[in-house]
């Protein structure tokens, strides 16, 4: 029945791994700003390569 020691050791170890991950993420500052990352993950494809033609065609007018 000493297998229960093994099982408990494993379960506590798994729990400790998650706890360590939590401490690590706090230390890294992941909990400092809980808003910006939620916006940031939605950005990606908005970058447009500038084309030289576009810039020359437009002229500024003031009326």
């Amino acid at each position: 029945m000493s297998v229960i020691y093994v099982l408990l050791t494993i379960s506590v170890c798994v729990a400790l791994v998650f706890f360590a991950a939590f401490v690590f993420s706090v230390r890294k500052g992941q909990y400092d700003d809980s808003y910006t990352p939620s916006v940031r993950m939605l950005f990606e494809d908005e970058l447009v390569e500038p084309t030289a033609k576009d810039n020359n065609q437009n002229k500024t007018q003031t009326d």
Binding site: F18, D32, D33, T62
Partner: protein, 801 residues
């Protein structure tokens, strides 16, 4: 076309509409930003949010102080091997487009290696190569795209402080232990050791002690680390002979731990480790919830938040150099440019000074000064460049000395006892009496159970639910207030808000609005041709008064002027078809000295003086109804730094007893509030630095602000000017919040009575404690959340009506 809105910033394009790329822009600044973004493939900016931009305000030489090596060193977070890291505060940041463009700064300049935004704090952290891009150029680049970094004295003097994260760690530790202990006590709950029949399940029984010691091990970090704050607060309370709510909590935790340890040591039972860890976990969740703060708003501002870090000094050989503001010595010759703040008291040497003292006095009129006049620190120069000679150092100047007053150093939270502590005091006394009486009874009746009962009473009476009621109610209210444009510094402010008896108002900028001026004309009537000339001349000028006047006057045909000149600090001059017009200050147009203090624009056509436009600040709409609502429950006072020119008007507006004091200097305001406080709790509502002393002295200082992100003096709460008329509703809500807390106390007392029945009769099983404690805590949380949610919806509905 006049209805078109600027593609970049969304402002209506009614003046000079700039057309570019088939899009309308309100000015060249906005167009330039668009061009920069377009050239660098950043058009996505406009797709994320429409009209997200802000008009760039570029003032030449503004960032010159960033050339000074000392300043650079103090601002940089990291500087090694040609790589520099700096953190800028960007007040204009307001939406996802802003985040996106600031995180793509590397597209604008190849030397920028990366940038990361912290939106709640309105900060951006930029990594760049210092060899190709200097800090000053970076600041200018940001200013050019409309995100001017706000670099003020306060950034400079702060030591690099560590981020406070201990509460999150503690919460994590408590949650981790709570979960594991719950799992380990499962056999105990289901009575598995005895299999429900009294016959011991052999193999589980064999490991019972091991399970229990494992729980003990998990509870150690909870008691000695996570609940540290409660022990400290309780000790502090006892030392100052104050029974705060932390005393019974600390007592409960301690009893739980000792009793459980003894239980498992002598094999008396399983102990209460599950209740212990759960209790601490719930308490910390409450504390975490209460901690909500508005990171982008600053409630601790003093003059340091407004003064620039550096200033230009003219050396004796006539050369200019940038020095730190603290290094200004008496006798230094300093250069102050347009829109810059005068850092020290001094004497004007050369230049045309137009000083806006609204920071200091609250009076918005611009004061002209002449060579030899004394200038006070805190004034803002509008117009050209001036040179002045410093009379004092920064910390000794008139304005900055105000911060030496004791009102700024005391902490308001410490003074007033919170409602929880008041209840906690009676509660602790009751619990201790009950425990003693019960123990005495059991000592006489059945001595073997006496200790058991004594500890059981302390455990079950641990006021977890009471301690949770206030944080959750106040935390929710704080969010409701925030959603409605009333930002409080912390939850203690709500408790103080509920006790207010007198409300003191500043006049200029608080009762009146800074934006909606009423303008009227005094003087000879202008002919059609002259009115047209006037409008066209105004059109060419960028001065704020010209722009405002332009927006008000009737439309006229747009014509091109033959001639237009702008005399900075004096006025403007335009001519068409042989007729000329002069607009501006009294001296510029040759008006007679009138001695009036109001802001006005004088007009002179050809060679005759015609009259003037007077700008009067308008009172906020809904002010009268607000005062009528408030006067039923509060006594009101108006405290103004202005002359009493408005007295009769105000008396007509408020035909009830309303004390009004005029010509009040900042320190007078502070003293007045202090005197009132001897009798009652005072709320001060103000806006400028001239109210800073009174705001700090009052029980609740509310700063009214047109733009909450940009300007407000030190205070307990910031009120969005648009929501000013709702002040009465906010005060009522704070009072209702206190009622909710008191109801929650009653509810949690019910649970305590049930628990005490088990405890006093000597039959408290760990499983009962483990059920009762979370149940009471959770029902309190549900009750307060529902009740505050209801109040919040009611407030919202009222605002919509």
């Amino acid at each position: 076309m006049s209805t078109a809105n600027c593609y970049h910033c969304g402002d209506p394009c009614n003046r000079k509409t700039v057309r570019f790329d088939d899009k309308a822009f309100c000015c060249h600044g906005c167009k330039t930003v668009y061009e920069i973004f377009k050239d660098n493939g950043l058009q996505g900016y406009y797709e994320l949010e429409t009209a997200a931009g802000s008009t760039p305000v570029v003032i030449a030489n503004k960032f010159d102080f960033l050339e000074n090596q000392d300043v650079i060193d103090k601002l940089l977070d990291f500087n090694e091997g040609g790589i520099q890291v700096v953190q800028f505060h960007i007040p204009q940041m307001h939406c996802s487009s802003c985040i996106w463009v600031l995180e793509n700064l590397n597209r604008l300049h190849t030397s920028i290696k990366g940038s990361q935004v912290n939106f709640p704090k309105r900060k951006v952290r930029i990594t760049f190569e210092s060899e190709k891009l200097e800090l000053k150029e970076l600041a200018v680049l940001l200013a050019r795209i409309g995100y001017e970094p706000g670099i003020v004295l306060a950034d400079y003097s702060k030591s690099k402080k560590k981020v406070e994260r201990s509460l999150i760690y503690k919460l994590g530790v408590a949650g981790f232990s709570f979960g594991n202990v719950m799992l380990l006590s499962f056999p105990e709950y289901l009575d598995l050791y005895t299999n429900g029949t009294g016959v011991h399940e052999f193999w589980l029984d064999q490991y019972k002690t091991f399970f229990r010691w494992l729980m003990f091990a998990f509870s150690l970090p909870v008691v000695f680390y996570a609940s540290q704050d409660y022990f400290r607060a309780a000790l502090k309370g006892i030392r100052s002979r104050l029974l705060n709510i932390d005393v019974p909590i600390a007592l409960g935790i301690l009893t739980l731990f000792l009793r459980s340890t003894i239980d498992i040591l002598f094999d008396l039972g399983s102990g209460f480790f599950d209740s212990l860890t759960g209790l601490v976990f719930f308490l910390l969740v409450g504390r975490f919830f209460q901690q909500k703060t508005y990171a982008h708003l600053s409630f601790e501002r003093d003059y340091k938040s407004y003064f620039p870090i550096g200033v230009t000094r003219i050396r004796e050989d006539g050369k200019e150099e940038n020095i730190e503001i603290y290094k200004i010595k008496q006798g230094d010759r300093l250069l102050v440019r347009n829109q810059e703040i005068i850092p020290v008291d001094g004497i004007l040497n050369t230049g045309n000074a137009q000083i806006d003292y609204s920071f200091v006095t609250g009076e918005s009129a611009v004061v002209p000064k002449f060579s030899g006049d004394k200038l006070f620190a805190g004034g803002k120069q509008l117009g050209g460049v001036i040179a002045l000679e410093a009379l004092k150092s920064v910390s000794q100047s008139y304005l900055t000395q105000l911060w030496g007053n004791a009102a700024f150093s005391k902490k308001k939270e410490m003074e007033s006892q919170t409602v929880t502590d008041t209840i906690g005091k009676r509660f602790t006394l009751a619990v201790l009496t009950l425990a003693t009486v019960a123990t005495a009874f059991w000592l006489w009746y059945e001595p073997s159970k006496a200790l058991n009962v004594f500890t059981a009473v302390l455990i079950i009476a641990c006021p977890c639910a009471i301690a949770l009621a206030a944080p959750f109610t106040l935390g929710n209210l704080l969010r409701i207030f925030g959603r409605n444009g009333f930002y409080l510094k912390d939850t203690h402010t709500i408790e103080r808000l509920a006790k207010i008896a007198t409300v003191v108002f500043d006049k200029t900028g608080t009762l009146t609005s800074n934006t909606g001026n009423t303008v009227f004309y005094e003087g000879m009537e202008l002919s059609e041709a002259e009115a047209s000339l006037l409008k066209n001349t105004l059109r060419a000028s960028n001065h704020p008064l010209s722009r405002e006047l332009y927006g008000i006057l009737d439309d006229h045909q747009i014509m091109t002027l033959d001639d237009f000149t702008e005399h900075t600090g004096k006025g403007i001059q335009g001519s068409l078809d042989g007729h000329s017009i002069k607009l501006g200050s009294a001296t510029f147009t040759g008006a007679l000295k009138d001695g009036c203090t109001e802001t006005s624009v004088h007009i002179r056509t050809d060679e005759t003086y015609r009259g003037r436009f007077v700008f009067k600040s308008a009172y906020r709409t809904g002010l009268v109804s607000l005062f009528n609502q408030l006067k039923a429950n509060f006594s009101l006072v108006i405290l103004s730094g202005d002359t009493d020119g408005e007295r009769t008007k105000l008396e007509k507006m408020f035909p009830f007893k309303l004390p009004m004091l005029f010509n009040q200097k900042p320190e007078h305001k502070l003293d007045f509030v202090q005197q009132l406080q001897q009798k009652q709790k005072v709320m001060m509502v103000g806006d400028g630095l001239n109210d800073a002393g009174a705001l700090a002295q009052s029980d609740v200082g509310v700063a009214v602000s047109e733009n909450i992100n940009v300007f407000s003096p030190a205070c307990d709460a910031i009120l969005d000017a648009k929501r000013f008329v709702q002040l009465s509703d906010f005060l009522k809500l704070a009072k209702k919040g206190m009622t909710i807390i008191k109801l929650s106390f009653l509810l949690s007392l019910c649970y305590n009575v049930i628990g005490l029945y088990f405890a006093l009769s000597g039959q408290l099983q760990p499983v009962i404690a483990a059920i009762l404690m979370p149940l009471s805590s959770i029902s309190i949380v549900v009750f307060t959340t529902l009740a505050t949610g209801f109040l919040g919806r009611k407030l919202q509905r009222k605002m919509e009506v």
